[in-house]
Amino acid sequence: MRNIWTIAEKEFKSIFHNAIAYVFGVVMFLSLGIYFMILLQYGMQTQTYVPDMRVLLDWVLFPIFFFGVPVLTMRSISDENRTGTLELILTAPVRDAELIIGKWLGIFLFFLCSLALTLLYPILLNFLVEPGIDFSALSAVYIGLILAVGAMTAVGVLISALFKNPIASLLASLGAILLMWIIASPASNTTGFLSDLLKYLSLPEHYYGSFYYGSVSLSSVIFFISLTVFALFLGARVIESRRWK
Protein backbone atom coordinates (compact mmCIF):
# COMPACT_ATOMS: atom_id res chain seq x y z
CA MET A 1 0.00 0.00 0.00
CA ARG A 2 2.81 2.36 0.90
CA ASN A 3 4.33 1.80 -2.51
CA ILE A 4 1.07 2.67 -4.24
CA TRP A 5 0.97 5.97 -2.41
CA THR A 6 4.67 6.69 -3.09
CA ILE A 7 4.18 6.11 -6.81
CA ALA A 8 0.91 8.07 -6.89
CA GLU A 9 2.52 11.02 -5.15
CA LYS A 10 5.42 11.03 -7.59
CA GLU A 11 3.10 10.76 -10.59
CA PHE A 12 0.94 13.59 -9.26
CA LYS A 13 3.95 15.82 -8.76
CA SER A 14 5.43 14.98 -12.15
CA ILE A 15 2.26 16.33 -13.82
CA PHE A 16 3.24 19.66 -12.31
CA HIS A 17 6.93 19.24 -13.14
CA ASN A 18 5.97 19.30 -16.80
CA ALA A 19 3.88 22.14 -18.11
CA ILE A 20 0.99 19.73 -18.71
CA ALA A 21 -0.85 20.58 -15.49
CA TYR A 22 -0.84 24.29 -16.23
CA VAL A 23 -1.80 23.89 -19.87
CA PHE A 24 -4.63 21.62 -18.81
CA GLY A 25 -5.74 24.08 -16.14
CA VAL A 26 -5.64 27.08 -18.47
CA VAL A 27 -7.56 25.31 -21.24
CA MET A 28 -10.15 24.03 -18.80
CA PHE A 29 -10.81 27.31 -16.98
CA LEU A 30 -10.70 29.40 -20.13
CA SER A 31 -13.31 27.26 -21.87
CA LEU A 32 -15.43 26.87 -18.71
CA GLY A 33 -15.30 30.63 -18.16
CA ILE A 34 -16.29 31.48 -21.74
CA TYR A 35 -19.18 29.04 -21.76
CA PHE A 36 -20.28 30.17 -18.33
CA MET A 37 -20.47 33.74 -19.62
CA ILE A 38 -22.43 32.65 -22.70
CA LEU A 39 -24.93 30.76 -20.52
CA LEU A 40 -25.34 33.72 -18.18
CA GLN A 41 -25.84 36.16 -21.05
CA TYR A 42 -28.40 33.87 -22.65
CA GLY A 43 -30.21 33.60 -19.33
CA MET A 44 -30.26 37.34 -18.87
CA GLN A 45 -31.49 38.00 -22.42
CA THR A 46 -34.33 35.53 -22.35
CA GLN A 47 -35.20 36.06 -18.68
CA THR A 48 -36.84 32.63 -18.76
CA TYR A 49 -33.81 30.35 -19.20
CA VAL A 50 -32.05 29.34 -16.03
CA PRO A 51 -28.42 28.50 -16.77
CA ASP A 52 -27.91 24.77 -16.31
CA MET A 53 -24.60 23.53 -14.84
CA ARG A 54 -25.04 20.21 -16.59
CA VAL A 55 -24.85 21.88 -19.97
CA LEU A 56 -21.65 23.60 -18.97
CA LEU A 57 -20.11 20.35 -17.78
CA ASP A 58 -21.35 18.52 -20.86
CA TRP A 59 -20.07 20.98 -23.40
CA VAL A 60 -16.78 21.71 -21.79
CA LEU A 61 -15.63 19.07 -19.33
CA PHE A 62 -16.33 15.96 -21.39
CA PRO A 63 -14.39 17.14 -24.44
CA ILE A 64 -11.58 18.27 -22.17
CA PHE A 65 -11.37 14.92 -20.42
CA PHE A 66 -11.81 13.15 -23.73
CA PHE A 67 -8.45 14.59 -24.81
CA GLY A 68 -6.99 15.27 -21.37
CA VAL A 69 -7.09 11.68 -20.14
CA PRO A 70 -5.02 10.28 -23.06
CA VAL A 71 -2.61 13.21 -22.86
CA LEU A 72 -1.96 12.71 -19.17
CA THR A 73 -1.88 8.93 -19.21
CA MET A 74 0.11 8.46 -22.40
CA ARG A 75 3.51 8.71 -20.77
CA SER A 76 2.66 7.09 -17.46
CA ILE A 77 4.02 3.60 -18.14
CA SER A 78 5.34 3.93 -21.68
CA ASP A 79 7.96 6.48 -20.66
CA GLU A 80 9.17 4.33 -17.78
CA ASN A 81 9.41 1.48 -20.23
CA ARG A 82 11.22 3.52 -22.86
CA THR A 83 13.78 5.12 -20.56
CA GLY A 84 14.34 1.95 -18.54
CA THR A 85 13.20 3.31 -15.19
CA LEU A 86 10.60 0.55 -15.20
CA GLU A 87 13.48 -1.86 -14.67
CA LEU A 88 14.59 0.08 -11.60
CA ILE A 89 11.13 0.23 -10.07
CA LEU A 90 10.43 -3.42 -10.68
CA THR A 91 13.77 -4.49 -9.22
CA ALA A 92 12.86 -2.55 -6.07
CA PRO A 93 10.45 -4.41 -3.81
CA VAL A 94 7.41 -3.16 -5.76
CA ARG A 95 4.73 -5.44 -7.13
CA ASP A 96 3.57 -4.99 -10.73
CA ALA A 97 0.04 -4.21 -9.54
CA GLU A 98 1.27 -1.58 -7.07
CA LEU A 99 2.99 0.26 -9.91
CA ILE A 100 -0.06 0.38 -12.14
CA ILE A 101 -2.47 1.30 -9.33
CA GLY A 102 -0.08 4.01 -8.13
CA LYS A 103 0.19 5.47 -11.61
CA TRP A 104 -3.57 5.47 -12.03
CA LEU A 105 -4.15 6.98 -8.60
CA GLY A 106 -1.67 9.82 -9.19
CA ILE A 107 -3.32 10.92 -12.42
CA PHE A 108 -6.83 10.34 -11.04
CA LEU A 109 -6.02 12.56 -8.05
CA PHE A 110 -4.98 15.31 -10.44
CA PHE A 111 -8.32 15.03 -12.26
CA LEU A 112 -10.15 15.01 -8.92
CA CYS A 113 -8.43 18.24 -7.95
CA SER A 114 -9.32 19.89 -11.24
CA LEU A 115 -12.92 18.67 -10.91
CA ALA A 116 -13.04 20.09 -7.39
CA LEU A 117 -11.95 23.48 -8.75
CA THR A 118 -14.79 23.49 -11.27
CA LEU A 119 -17.21 23.58 -8.29
CA LEU A 120 -16.45 27.29 -8.32
CA TYR A 121 -18.97 27.78 -11.16
CA PRO A 122 -22.01 26.14 -9.53
CA ILE A 123 -21.25 28.04 -6.32
CA LEU A 124 -21.08 31.27 -8.30
CA LEU A 125 -24.27 30.38 -10.16
CA ASN A 126 -26.00 29.69 -6.86
CA PHE A 127 -25.54 33.34 -5.91
CA LEU A 128 -26.77 34.59 -9.27
CA VAL A 129 -30.02 32.68 -9.73
CA GLU A 130 -33.12 32.56 -7.55
CA PRO A 131 -33.80 30.35 -5.65
CA GLY A 132 -30.31 28.89 -6.10
CA ILE A 133 -29.44 25.58 -7.73
CA ASP A 134 -30.18 21.99 -6.81
CA PHE A 135 -26.94 20.77 -5.27
CA SER A 136 -28.17 17.25 -4.64
CA ALA A 137 -28.86 16.72 -8.35
CA LEU A 138 -25.54 18.31 -9.17
CA SER A 139 -23.65 16.00 -6.83
CA ALA A 140 -25.01 13.01 -8.78
CA VAL A 141 -23.64 14.60 -11.94
CA TYR A 142 -20.26 15.01 -10.28
CA ILE A 143 -20.25 11.43 -8.99
CA GLY A 144 -20.90 10.31 -12.55
CA LEU A 145 -18.11 12.49 -13.86
CA ILE A 146 -15.66 11.23 -11.26
CA LEU A 147 -16.49 7.59 -11.97
CA ALA A 148 -16.26 8.08 -15.75
CA VAL A 149 -12.94 9.90 -15.49
CA GLY A 150 -11.60 7.18 -13.19
CA ALA A 151 -12.51 4.48 -15.69
CA MET A 152 -11.13 6.44 -18.65
CA THR A 153 -7.88 7.04 -16.77
CA ALA A 154 -7.55 3.33 -16.00
CA VAL A 155 -7.99 2.51 -19.69
CA GLY A 156 -5.39 5.17 -20.55
CA VAL A 157 -2.87 3.72 -18.09
CA LEU A 158 -3.52 0.21 -19.40
CA ILE A 159 -2.85 1.36 -22.97
CA SER A 160 0.27 3.21 -21.86
CA ALA A 161 1.59 -0.10 -20.53
CA LEU A 162 1.14 -1.62 -23.98
CA PHE A 163 3.30 0.88 -25.87
CA LYS A 164 6.85 2.11 -25.54
CA ASN A 165 6.09 5.10 -27.74
CA PRO A 166 3.98 7.74 -25.96
CA ILE A 167 2.46 8.98 -29.22
CA ALA A 168 1.26 5.50 -30.11
CA SER A 169 -0.15 5.29 -26.62
CA LEU A 170 -1.89 8.67 -27.04
CA LEU A 171 -3.55 7.68 -30.30
CA ALA A 172 -4.59 4.28 -29.01
CA SER A 173 -6.12 5.79 -25.85
CA LEU A 174 -7.99 8.37 -27.91
CA GLY A 175 -9.32 5.55 -30.06
CA ALA A 176 -10.29 3.44 -27.07
CA ILE A 177 -12.10 6.29 -25.34
CA LEU A 178 -13.84 7.24 -28.57
CA LEU A 179 -14.94 3.63 -28.92
CA MET A 180 -16.35 3.62 -25.39
CA TRP A 181 -18.39 6.69 -26.34
CA ILE A 182 -19.82 5.51 -29.61
CA ILE A 183 -20.03 1.78 -29.05
CA ALA A 184 -23.78 1.91 -28.44
CA SER A 185 -24.66 3.95 -31.52
CA PRO A 186 -25.12 0.99 -33.89
CA ALA A 187 -27.44 -0.49 -31.27
CA SER A 188 -29.49 2.64 -30.68
CA ASN A 189 -32.56 1.49 -32.65
CA THR A 190 -32.31 -2.23 -32.12
CA THR A 191 -33.05 -4.65 -29.32
CA GLY A 192 -31.69 -8.03 -28.38
CA PHE A 193 -28.75 -9.41 -26.47
CA LEU A 194 -26.02 -7.88 -28.60
CA SER A 195 -27.48 -4.41 -28.55
CA ASP A 196 -28.02 -4.69 -24.78
CA LEU A 197 -24.40 -5.68 -24.38
CA LEU A 198 -23.15 -2.78 -26.50
CA LYS A 199 -25.34 -0.39 -24.54
CA TYR A 200 -24.02 -1.79 -21.29
CA LEU A 201 -20.44 -1.18 -22.45
CA SER A 202 -21.08 2.39 -23.50
CA LEU A 203 -20.02 5.21 -21.17
CA PRO A 204 -22.74 7.72 -22.21
CA GLU A 205 -25.47 5.14 -21.70
CA HIS A 206 -24.49 4.95 -18.04
CA TYR A 207 -23.79 8.62 -17.58
CA TYR A 208 -26.88 10.01 -19.32
CA GLY A 209 -28.94 7.06 -18.15
CA SER A 210 -28.72 7.97 -14.50
CA PHE A 211 -26.20 10.51 -13.14
CA TYR A 212 -27.21 13.22 -15.59
CA TYR A 213 -30.75 13.22 -14.25
CA GLY A 214 -29.68 13.46 -10.67
CA SER A 215 -29.93 9.81 -9.70
CA VAL A 216 -27.11 7.47 -8.83
CA SER A 217 -27.87 4.01 -10.15
CA LEU A 218 -26.05 1.18 -8.47
CA SER A 219 -25.60 -0.80 -11.66
CA SER A 220 -23.87 2.15 -13.33
CA VAL A 221 -21.63 2.70 -10.32
CA ILE A 222 -20.69 -0.97 -10.45
CA PHE A 223 -20.09 -0.71 -14.20
CA PHE A 224 -17.61 2.16 -13.85
CA ILE A 225 -15.81 0.65 -10.88
CA SER A 226 -15.50 -2.76 -12.49
CA LEU A 227 -14.26 -1.19 -15.73
CA THR A 228 -11.59 0.63 -13.70
CA VAL A 229 -10.56 -2.49 -11.79
CA PHE A 230 -10.56 -4.63 -14.93
CA ALA A 231 -8.38 -2.16 -16.86
CA LEU A 232 -5.90 -1.93 -13.98
CA PHE A 233 -5.84 -5.70 -13.63
CA LEU A 234 -5.08 -6.07 -17.33
CA GLY A 235 -2.42 -3.37 -17.02
CA ALA A 236 -0.68 -5.33 -14.27
CA ARG A 237 -0.78 -8.42 -16.49
CA VAL A 238 0.76 -6.46 -19.36
CA ILE A 239 3.65 -5.37 -17.15
CA GLU A 240 4.02 -8.92 -15.95
CA SER A 241 4.09 -10.19 -19.54
CA ARG A 242 7.79 -9.30 -19.85
CA ARG A 243 8.33 -12.45 -17.82
CA TRP A 244 6.86 -14.73 -20.46
CA LYS A 245 8.78 -13.28 -23.37
Binding site: R2, N3, T6, I7, K10, S14, H17, N18, T83, G84, T85, L86, E87, L88, I89, L90, T91, A92, P93, V94, R95, R242, R243, K245
Partner: protein, 337 residues
Protein backbone atom coordinates in the same frame (compact mmCIF):
# COMPACT_ATOMS: atom_id res chain seq x y z
CA UNK B 1 25.98 -14.78 -1.23
CA UNK B 2 25.08 -15.30 -4.90
CA UNK B 3 24.58 -18.82 -6.16
CA UNK B 4 23.74 -19.53 -9.77
CA UNK B 5 23.19 -23.09 -10.94
CA UNK B 6 22.64 -24.18 -14.54
CA UNK B 7 21.05 -20.89 -15.45
CA UNK B 8 19.50 -20.97 -18.91
CA UNK B 9 17.48 -18.28 -20.62
CA UNK B 10 15.79 -18.44 -24.00
CA UNK B 11 14.22 -15.47 -25.73
CA UNK B 12 11.89 -17.29 -28.06
CA UNK B 13 14.30 -19.64 -29.77
CA UNK B 14 17.39 -17.58 -29.10
CA UNK B 15 19.51 -18.82 -26.30
CA UNK B 16 20.89 -15.86 -24.35
CA UNK B 17 22.37 -17.74 -21.40
CA UNK B 18 23.20 -21.42 -21.40
CA UNK B 19 23.89 -23.60 -18.38
CA UNK B 20 25.68 -20.86 -16.49
CA UNK B 21 26.96 -21.80 -13.03
CA UNK B 22 28.88 -19.56 -10.68
CA UNK B 23 28.86 -18.20 -7.16
CA UNK B 24 30.06 -15.15 -5.30
CA UNK B 25 31.05 -14.98 -1.66
CA UNK B 26 30.27 -12.18 0.72
CA UNK B 27 32.56 -9.20 0.25
CA UNK B 28 33.79 -10.33 -3.12
CA UNK B 29 34.00 -8.17 -6.24
CA UNK B 30 33.13 -10.39 -9.14
CA UNK B 31 33.77 -9.22 -12.69
CA UNK B 32 31.54 -10.35 -15.48
CA UNK B 33 33.41 -10.13 -18.71
CA UNK B 34 32.32 -10.75 -22.24
CA UNK B 35 31.78 -9.22 -25.64
CA UNK B 36 28.55 -7.36 -26.32
CA UNK B 37 25.63 -9.74 -26.51
CA UNK B 38 27.32 -12.41 -24.44
CA UNK B 39 24.41 -12.57 -22.00
CA UNK B 40 25.74 -10.35 -19.22
CA UNK B 41 22.74 -8.07 -19.00
CA UNK B 42 20.30 -10.96 -19.26
CA UNK B 43 22.03 -12.73 -16.38
CA UNK B 44 21.92 -9.58 -14.27
CA UNK B 45 18.24 -9.05 -15.02
CA UNK B 46 17.54 -12.56 -13.86
CA UNK B 47 19.57 -12.04 -10.69
CA UNK B 48 17.63 -8.89 -9.85
CA UNK B 49 14.30 -10.62 -10.40
CA UNK B 50 13.34 -8.47 -13.37
CA UNK B 51 12.90 -11.45 -15.69
CA UNK B 52 12.70 -15.13 -14.76
CA UNK B 53 15.12 -17.74 -16.11
CA UNK B 54 13.91 -20.44 -18.49
CA UNK B 55 15.53 -23.00 -16.22
CA UNK B 56 18.11 -23.21 -13.48
CA UNK B 57 18.24 -22.00 -9.91
CA UNK B 58 19.43 -18.65 -8.60
CA UNK B 59 19.61 -17.76 -4.92
CA UNK B 60 20.85 -14.53 -3.41
CA UNK B 61 21.48 -14.38 0.30
CA UNK B 62 19.65 -17.69 0.57
CA UNK B 63 16.49 -16.37 -1.13
CA UNK B 64 15.27 -17.83 -4.40
CA UNK B 65 14.91 -15.15 -7.08
CA UNK B 66 11.62 -16.55 -8.34
CA UNK B 67 9.83 -17.72 -5.21
CA UNK B 68 11.13 -15.01 -2.88
CA UNK B 69 11.56 -12.25 -5.40
CA UNK B 70 10.57 -9.40 -3.05
CA UNK B 71 13.07 -10.55 -0.39
CA UNK B 72 15.82 -10.74 -3.00
CA UNK B 73 15.00 -7.24 -4.26
CA UNK B 74 15.29 -5.91 -0.71
CA UNK B 75 18.92 -6.99 -0.40
CA UNK B 76 20.02 -6.24 -3.95
CA UNK B 77 21.01 -2.85 -5.34
CA UNK B 78 20.97 -2.61 -9.10
CA UNK B 79 22.31 -0.15 -11.63
CA UNK B 80 21.23 -1.01 -15.18
CA UNK B 81 23.51 -0.21 -18.08
CA UNK B 82 21.45 2.72 -19.38
CA UNK B 83 21.41 4.39 -15.91
CA UNK B 84 17.69 5.14 -16.04
CA UNK B 85 16.77 8.29 -14.12
CA UNK B 86 13.91 10.78 -14.14
CA UNK B 87 15.29 13.91 -15.80
CA UNK B 88 12.54 16.15 -14.39
CA UNK B 89 13.34 15.30 -10.76
CA UNK B 90 15.94 16.79 -8.49
CA UNK B 91 18.73 14.51 -7.24
CA UNK B 92 17.63 14.42 -3.60
CA UNK B 93 13.98 14.11 -4.62
CA UNK B 94 14.82 11.13 -6.83
CA UNK B 95 16.83 9.42 -4.11
CA UNK B 96 13.99 9.97 -1.63
CA UNK B 97 11.59 8.39 -4.10
CA UNK B 98 13.75 5.32 -4.64
CA UNK B 99 14.38 5.12 -0.89
CA UNK B 100 10.66 5.13 -0.19
CA UNK B 101 10.10 2.33 -2.69
CA UNK B 102 12.76 0.37 -0.83
CA UNK B 103 11.07 1.16 2.50
CA UNK B 104 14.18 2.81 3.88
CA UNK B 105 13.94 3.94 7.50
CA UNK B 106 15.40 7.30 8.50
CA UNK B 107 15.09 8.35 4.87
CA UNK B 108 16.51 11.86 5.17
CA UNK B 109 19.66 10.68 6.92
CA UNK B 110 20.12 7.85 4.47
CA UNK B 111 19.74 10.14 1.45
CA UNK B 112 22.33 12.50 2.93
CA UNK B 113 24.67 9.54 3.54
CA UNK B 114 24.59 8.19 0.01
CA UNK B 115 24.88 11.67 -1.47
CA UNK B 116 28.00 12.09 0.64
CA UNK B 117 29.30 8.68 -0.33
CA UNK B 118 29.10 9.21 -4.09
CA UNK B 119 30.28 12.78 -3.72
CA UNK B 120 27.42 14.72 -5.27
CA UNK B 121 26.53 16.88 -2.28
CA UNK B 122 27.01 20.08 -4.27
CA UNK B 123 24.51 18.92 -6.91
CA UNK B 124 21.92 17.47 -4.55
CA UNK B 125 19.34 20.11 -5.49
CA UNK B 126 20.03 20.10 -9.23
CA UNK B 127 17.62 18.68 -11.75
CA UNK B 128 18.91 15.36 -13.07
CA UNK B 129 18.49 16.63 -16.65
CA UNK B 130 21.18 19.22 -15.94
CA UNK B 131 23.81 16.71 -14.80
CA UNK B 132 26.73 15.39 -16.83
CA UNK B 133 27.02 11.71 -17.68
CA UNK B 134 29.50 11.11 -14.88
CA UNK B 135 27.27 12.82 -12.34
CA UNK B 136 24.30 10.77 -13.50
CA UNK B 137 26.33 7.62 -13.08
CA UNK B 138 26.95 8.62 -9.48
CA UNK B 139 23.29 9.34 -8.92
CA UNK B 140 22.59 5.88 -10.32
CA UNK B 141 25.10 4.38 -7.90
CA UNK B 142 23.57 6.35 -5.02
CA UNK B 143 20.19 4.94 -5.98
CA UNK B 144 21.59 1.40 -5.95
CA UNK B 145 23.05 2.02 -2.48
CA UNK B 146 20.08 3.80 -0.93
CA UNK B 147 18.72 0.78 0.97
CA UNK B 148 22.19 -0.36 2.05
CA UNK B 149 22.00 -3.61 0.04
CA UNK B 150 24.18 -6.60 0.76
CA UNK B 151 24.62 -7.30 -2.93
CA UNK B 152 25.32 -4.72 -5.59
CA UNK B 153 24.78 -5.53 -9.26
CA UNK B 154 26.26 -3.01 -11.67
CA UNK B 155 25.84 -3.33 -15.42
CA UNK B 156 28.71 -1.61 -17.23
CA UNK B 157 29.17 1.01 -14.52
CA UNK B 158 31.92 2.94 -16.33
CA UNK B 159 30.61 2.94 -19.87
CA UNK B 160 30.46 6.33 -21.56
CA UNK B 161 32.49 8.16 -18.93
CA UNK B 162 35.61 10.19 -19.50
CA UNK B 163 38.92 8.83 -18.11
CA UNK B 164 38.85 10.97 -14.96
CA UNK B 165 35.30 9.93 -14.20
CA UNK B 166 36.13 6.29 -14.85
CA UNK B 167 38.87 6.43 -12.24
CA UNK B 168 36.52 8.02 -9.73
CA UNK B 169 33.75 5.51 -10.29
CA UNK B 170 36.24 2.62 -10.04
CA UNK B 171 37.56 3.96 -6.76
CA UNK B 172 34.04 4.19 -5.49
CA UNK B 173 33.29 0.61 -6.50
CA UNK B 174 36.50 -0.61 -4.89
CA UNK B 175 35.49 1.12 -1.68
CA UNK B 176 31.97 -0.29 -1.78
CA UNK B 177 33.42 -3.72 -2.53
CA UNK B 178 35.17 -3.78 0.82
CA UNK B 179 31.85 -4.27 2.61
CA UNK B 180 29.50 -5.64 0.01
CA UNK B 181 29.29 -8.33 -2.60
CA UNK B 182 29.61 -6.67 -5.97
CA UNK B 183 28.87 -8.20 -9.34
CA UNK B 184 29.82 -5.92 -12.18
CA UNK B 185 29.87 -6.44 -15.89
CA UNK B 186 32.30 -4.82 -18.23
CA UNK B 187 33.98 -5.37 -21.52
CA UNK B 188 36.98 -3.29 -20.54
CA UNK B 189 39.50 -5.83 -19.35
CA UNK B 190 41.88 -3.57 -17.53
CA UNK B 191 38.97 -2.50 -15.42
CA UNK B 192 38.22 -6.05 -14.38
CA UNK B 193 41.91 -6.56 -13.71
CA UNK B 194 41.98 -3.53 -11.50
CA UNK B 195 38.93 -3.90 -9.30
CA UNK B 196 37.80 -7.49 -9.40
CA UNK B 197 38.78 -10.27 -7.03
CA UNK B 198 37.60 -12.82 -9.52
CA UNK B 199 36.68 -12.70 -13.18
CA UNK B 200 34.12 -14.70 -15.11
CA UNK B 201 34.54 -14.65 -18.85
CA UNK B 202 31.42 -15.47 -20.79
CA UNK B 203 30.80 -15.73 -24.48
CA UNK B 204 27.54 -16.60 -26.21
CA UNK B 205 25.88 -17.14 -22.86
CA UNK B 206 28.39 -19.73 -21.68
CA UNK B 207 31.14 -19.59 -19.13
CA UNK B 208 34.53 -19.68 -20.85
CA UNK B 209 36.85 -19.14 -17.89
CA UNK B 210 36.64 -18.31 -14.23
CA UNK B 211 39.60 -17.30 -12.06
CA UNK B 212 41.41 -14.40 -10.45
CA UNK B 213 42.81 -11.92 -12.97
CA UNK B 214 46.38 -12.91 -11.99
CA UNK B 215 45.76 -16.65 -12.36
CA UNK B 216 44.11 -16.14 -15.71
CA UNK B 217 47.15 -14.25 -16.84
CA UNK B 218 49.55 -16.93 -15.61
CA UNK B 219 47.51 -19.69 -17.14
CA UNK B 220 47.87 -18.30 -20.61
CA UNK B 221 51.40 -16.96 -20.63
CA UNK B 222 53.61 -19.95 -21.32
CA UNK B 223 56.11 -17.78 -23.17
CA UNK B 224 57.93 -14.64 -22.16
CA UNK B 225 58.23 -11.66 -24.45
CA UNK B 226 61.18 -9.33 -23.92
CA UNK B 227 61.80 -6.07 -25.71
CA UNK B 228 65.34 -4.69 -25.94
CA UNK B 229 66.16 -1.12 -26.85
CA UNK B 230 69.79 -0.54 -27.90
CA UNK B 231 71.58 2.74 -28.41
CA UNK B 232 72.98 1.87 -31.83
CA UNK B 233 72.11 -0.45 -34.69
CA UNK B 234 70.39 -3.55 -33.30
CA UNK B 235 71.32 -5.96 -36.12
CA UNK B 236 74.57 -7.33 -34.58
CA UNK B 237 72.66 -8.23 -31.40
CA UNK B 238 70.29 -10.56 -33.21
CA UNK B 239 72.82 -13.33 -33.72
CA UNK B 240 74.02 -13.10 -30.13
CA UNK B 241 70.49 -13.39 -28.77
CA UNK B 242 69.59 -16.27 -31.09
CA UNK B 243 72.46 -18.17 -29.51
CA UNK B 244 70.93 -18.07 -26.04
CA UNK B 245 69.19 -21.10 -24.62
CA UNK B 246 65.36 -21.27 -24.69
CA UNK B 247 65.04 -18.41 -27.17
CA UNK B 248 62.34 -19.18 -29.72
CA UNK B 249 62.23 -16.13 -31.91
CA UNK B 250 64.14 -12.86 -32.36
CA UNK B 251 62.86 -9.99 -34.48
CA UNK B 252 63.34 -6.28 -34.99
CA UNK B 253 60.12 -4.35 -34.76
CA UNK B 254 59.15 -1.15 -36.58
CA UNK B 255 60.52 0.99 -33.76
CA UNK B 256 63.95 -0.53 -34.30
CA UNK B 257 63.80 -2.54 -31.09
CA UNK B 258 64.52 -6.20 -30.67
CA UNK B 259 61.65 -8.40 -29.63
CA UNK B 260 62.50 -11.86 -28.44
CA UNK B 261 60.31 -14.65 -27.26
CA UNK B 262 61.51 -17.36 -24.93
CA UNK B 263 60.08 -20.50 -23.42
CA UNK B 264 60.78 -21.93 -20.00
CA UNK B 265 60.13 -21.00 -16.40
CA UNK B 266 63.13 -18.79 -15.71
CA UNK B 267 63.29 -15.13 -16.62
CA UNK B 268 65.55 -14.65 -19.63
CA UNK B 269 66.29 -10.96 -18.99
CA UNK B 270 69.51 -11.36 -16.91
CA UNK B 271 71.01 -13.56 -19.62
CA UNK B 272 70.04 -11.10 -22.33
CA UNK B 273 71.65 -8.23 -20.47
CA UNK B 274 74.78 -10.20 -19.66
CA UNK B 275 75.33 -11.39 -23.21
CA UNK B 276 74.73 -7.94 -24.74
CA UNK B 277 77.03 -6.23 -22.26
CA UNK B 278 79.69 -8.81 -22.98
CA UNK B 279 79.44 -7.85 -26.67
CA UNK B 280 79.94 -4.18 -25.74
CA UNK B 281 76.51 -3.10 -26.92
CA UNK B 282 74.88 -0.17 -25.15
CA UNK B 283 71.53 -1.13 -23.65
CA UNK B 284 68.99 1.61 -23.06
CA UNK B 285 66.08 -0.50 -21.96
CA UNK B 286 65.06 -4.14 -21.42
CA UNK B 287 61.56 -5.02 -20.39
CA UNK B 288 59.24 -8.01 -20.29
CA UNK B 289 55.73 -7.88 -21.63
CA UNK B 290 53.05 -9.77 -19.79
CA UNK B 291 50.02 -10.79 -21.73
CA UNK B 292 47.23 -8.41 -20.91
CA UNK B 293 43.81 -9.67 -19.97
CA UNK B 294 42.83 -8.35 -23.38
CA UNK B 295 44.91 -10.96 -25.15
CA UNK B 296 43.75 -13.70 -22.83
CA UNK B 297 40.21 -12.75 -23.48
CA UNK B 298 40.58 -12.77 -27.24
CA UNK B 299 42.44 -16.04 -27.05
CA UNK B 300 39.74 -17.69 -24.98
CA UNK B 301 36.96 -16.43 -27.15
CA UNK B 302 38.80 -17.47 -30.31
CA UNK B 303 39.58 -20.91 -28.93
CA UNK B 304 35.95 -21.35 -28.25
CA UNK B 305 35.00 -20.21 -31.73
CA UNK B 306 37.39 -22.67 -33.35
CA UNK B 307 36.01 -25.48 -31.23
CA UNK B 308 32.58 -24.49 -32.30
CA UNK B 309 33.55 -24.55 -35.96
CA UNK B 310 35.26 -27.90 -35.54
CA UNK B 311 32.07 -29.43 -34.22
CA UNK B 312 29.32 -28.09 -36.44
CA UNK B 313 27.43 -31.35 -36.45
CA UNK B 314 27.36 -31.62 -32.71
CA UNK B 315 26.23 -28.02 -32.52
CA UNK B 316 23.47 -28.70 -35.03
CA UNK B 317 22.36 -31.71 -33.09
CA UNK B 318 22.31 -29.75 -29.85
CA UNK B 319 20.22 -27.02 -31.35
CA UNK B 320 17.88 -29.44 -32.97
CA UNK B 321 17.43 -30.99 -29.57
CA UNK B 322 16.62 -27.62 -28.11
CA UNK B 323 14.10 -27.05 -30.85
CA UNK B 324 12.44 -30.39 -30.39
CA UNK B 325 11.99 -29.65 -26.72
CA UNK B 326 9.97 -26.69 -27.91
CA UNK B 327 7.97 -29.02 -30.16
CA UNK B 328 9.50 -27.62 -33.31
CA UNK B 329 11.93 -30.37 -34.11
CA UNK B 330 11.04 -30.50 -37.81
CA UNK B 331 11.78 -26.86 -38.38
CA UNK B 332 15.00 -27.04 -36.38
CA UNK B 333 16.16 -30.08 -38.32
CA UNK B 334 15.65 -28.30 -41.60
CA UNK B 335 17.55 -25.27 -40.48
CA UNK B 336 20.60 -27.25 -39.69
CA UNK B 337 20.37 -29.81 -42.45
Amino acid sequence: MIKVENLTKYYGQNCAVKELTFHAEKGEVLGFLGPNGAGKTTTMRILTGYIPPTSGKVTIGGYDVIDQSLEVRRIVGYLPESVPLYPDMRVNEYLRYMGKLHQVDRLDERVAEVIEKVNIADRAHSFISKLSKGMRQRVGLAQALIHDPEVLILDEPTIGLDPAQIIEVRKLIEEIGKEKTVLLSTHILSEAQQICDRVLIINRGQLVAEDTPEALQKRLTGTQKVTVHLAGDPTPAIEILRGLANVLRVEINDQNRIVLESSGETDIRPKVIASLTAANLEILEVYAETASLEEIFLQLVQEEETERQAQPELEGALQAEAHSSKEQSEQGGENHA
